[in-house]
Symmetry: C2
């Protein structure tokens, strides 16, 4: 029986044209990171299950994990996200001087039902600063995120960086009358606001507030606030250091001119480990506001490894989600998809001159020219078609005569113009 020609559902398979698009995106992400002094790292795909059982949301490990027992009887998991491995790396290196600015482009795994933009095997860009509790870290990380969007030439009308603070919201919920034990449920409800119909959401929120209509109403007011200087909010949060931090950060963003960053108390993020400022990058150009990226400050992750408390701030961004976003707004240039794989094609008129063609290819390559040498063994006409189908514009033909004289003819396909010359002359023309 023939094997299936399809990969497993939700798995990542990239033909060269798709790979170029993905690489266009990942190169831009790396470029923005490097530009801000961030350094790349990587960790294992296979991790101990315990690493994720500890701090990621329960759903990740319980129902959405690729976990199994290896041949050495270890309970392992294919990482669903990068942050716990990062925290471990930081904790393990006594020599490491803090703060560090790191980024990574890991493959991650979640067993979810595949749909547009949601797959089981995905590249997730991660960028973090660890070892600094200054708000300058939050600012720097958001500067990089905003810089990424600008590098793709995304107009500010199609995205927004909504931000809030877990610490602030915890205190705000208490002042709204939500008891501590209900917070987790209310955060979940707030997180789902944009994903549900208004009425259904109101019911859900009311339930999460223990059925107290007055409390639920105050929470609705809270998540509708649009500025940390809002009078109602300032009243509610009188004397709160958490409000002062939020106001300070708001001013920092304003002074730095990041107009896409907007205070949004409704942004709380799903993952359990966030403790301070949290943020989301949202697609605002359409009805359904999708989250492209989420992040924030986490204080207690590195401590799990027995090292002291090391605070971190960072974000994760799905490369596929971002790619679909860019494509839907026409922000992936056609030139990326249509790039030619070589500058010159070497056509071979006879199998007796293959070695000559190989030598010529080597000379050109050593001069920095990308050369595709014919390997088809077909007739010359077909070799020219092959060059053309690969969008290669220059074709050098090697025949017995050229092998003897060392003078080659090069044809520029778009206008059919032919130049003749030695290897050195051709190199000069091509460069």
């Amino acid at each position: 029986m023939a094997l299936s020609t399809k990969p497993l559902s939700g798995m990542r398979q990239r033909f060269p044209e798709q790979f170029r698009v993905e690489k266009f995106v990942t190169d831009m992400l790396s470029g923005s990171s490097v530009s801000a002094g961030f350094q790349e790292y990587d960790g294992p795909v296979i991790e101990p299950l315990a690493l994720f059982a500890a701090k990621s949301g329960g759903e990740l490990v319980g129902r959405q994990s690729y976990s199994f027992t290896d041949r050495g009887e270890r309970e392992v998991i294919l990482r669903p996200e990068m942050t716990p491995s990062l925290a471990r790396m930081i904790a393990s290196s006594g020599e490491l001087q803090l703060p560090v600015r790191w980024f990574s482009m890991p493959l991650c795994y979640r067993y979810e039902r595949p749909q547009r933009g949601r797959v089981r095997e995905f590249l997730q860009f991660n960028l973090d600063i660890l070892g600094s509790s200054s708000l300058a870290s939050e600012l720097e990380v958001i500067l990089v995120l905003n810089g990424i969007m600008k590098s793709f030439k995304a107009p500010s009308s199609i995205y927004r960086i909504g931000w809030s603070s877990r610490r602030f919201m915890t205190e705000a919920l208490l002042r709204c009358g939500v008891k501590q034990e209900l917070h987790s449920g209310v955060f979940s409800a707030i997180d789902k606001k944009d994903k549900m119909k208004e009425e259904a959401w109101s019911d859900y929120l009311l339930q999460s507030c223990g059925g107290d209509k007055k409390v639920a109403g105050t929470v609705v007011s809270l998540v509708s606030v649009e500025s940390p200087s809002d009078t109602w909010l300032v009243d509610l949060m009188a004397e709160s250091p958490a409000l002062r931090e939020v106001q300070e950060f708001d001013m920092l963003l304003e002074k730095t001119g990041i107009s896409s960053a907007v205070f949004s108390p409704g942004v709380v993020r799903g993952l359990d480990y966030y403790t301070g400022i949290v943020f989301e990058l949202m697609d605002t150009g359409r009805e359904n506001r999708r989250s492209l990226c989420g992040g924030g400050r986490y204080d207690n992750l590195v401590g799990l490894f027995g090292a002291g408390r090391i605070s971190g701030v960072g974000f994760g961004l799905g490369v596929l989600t971002l790619t679909l976003f860019l494509e839907s707004y026409g922000l992936v240039p056609d030139s990326v998809r249509q790039a030619a794989p070589a500058d010159v094609y070497i056509a071979i008129a006879s199998s007796s001159v293959i070695a000559t063609a190989g030598l010529l290819a080597e000379s050109l390559r050593n001069s920095g020219i990308r050369v595709m040498m014919d390997v088809s063994g077909k007739k010359l006409g077909k070799q020219f078609s092959e060059a053309s189908r690969n969008r290669i514009t220059q074709v050098i033909t090697v025949g017995v005569e050229q092998a003897e004289t060392g003078i080659y003819k090069m044809k520029y396909l778009p206008d059919g113009k032919v130049t003749a010359g030695s290897v050195e002359e051709l190199i000069r023309i091509l460069k």
Copy 2:
């Protein structure tokens, strides 16, 4: 209980300095591939077990695999190698015009006992040409492999590309008197020649030849041959098309000046799917000749998917093995390990000017300058130390005065020289 700070045994974890070394190697591999018109692709890490059960060596799937049943009751495996996924991709795309030249840098998995240069999670560079049966393909692939070694400035004294042919060896064994049913065992024995002591190997070979001393002696003569024009060999292989192909390829390599490629009948490669020319890249600079890379022609892989017969030729190269080889010969430049993560460090004299520092950082970054902005909030002296420890040579200090005047001081740490200027002037100096 605190979580372990170590990754699982044999897993790949890269701190930034190690990552830079690995990236130096992978960038060079990609560069050589792109230079020859090869295009990058990727496939899934998680594959159906059946994909590998079909054609890889039995050991890979039986004892060395990371295989498990997923939440959808699928028997899956973390790919131990790339070629079967590649064959599937080629078979699945009806639109694909052949030949194709593709490369990839996949993470692969084998459950082996970890030791120096052998790990469980590894990057394996793959490069293949599919859809051409011309020897120009074998030549092109070996040109790229040789080009890779030259790009690392490896002297030809420390490596060798040994090559032979499975088709040729099959016929040669028959003519040596080895019965068809013993071939698989004799190939295994030949493959282990360099890994065993001489006497033990002789016994092993004799056994694999069914105990026939005369036959075993002829096989020893066969694997000692150093040229396809050797008189004894030509006699043995009279009228053989397989010998003619080997002679033709030998001449191609000689004419192309690839002196590191040497005919070696002892090279047979372990994987079951090779059918024609096979080759190995070997470290010849030390007693123990290690294989860095292996490849060859495979005719029957794509057919497994019900597509027609599509012949391929390619190789796989372990990035870690190559890196250790390069390091042991001092071929990883110190500058790779010691590279500074930024061109300029922005020191911040007071938390009231963080936004000004952020704006300055953005201006410099937009001009292509890599900027590390302080996030530590420490005193200025410590910020300068931080720049210095990161090997960053220029430090711009932002204080209240600079924020007001827009004139900044920049210190060049190696000689302590200070320049003052506007953002535009600093950009000019830095570029």
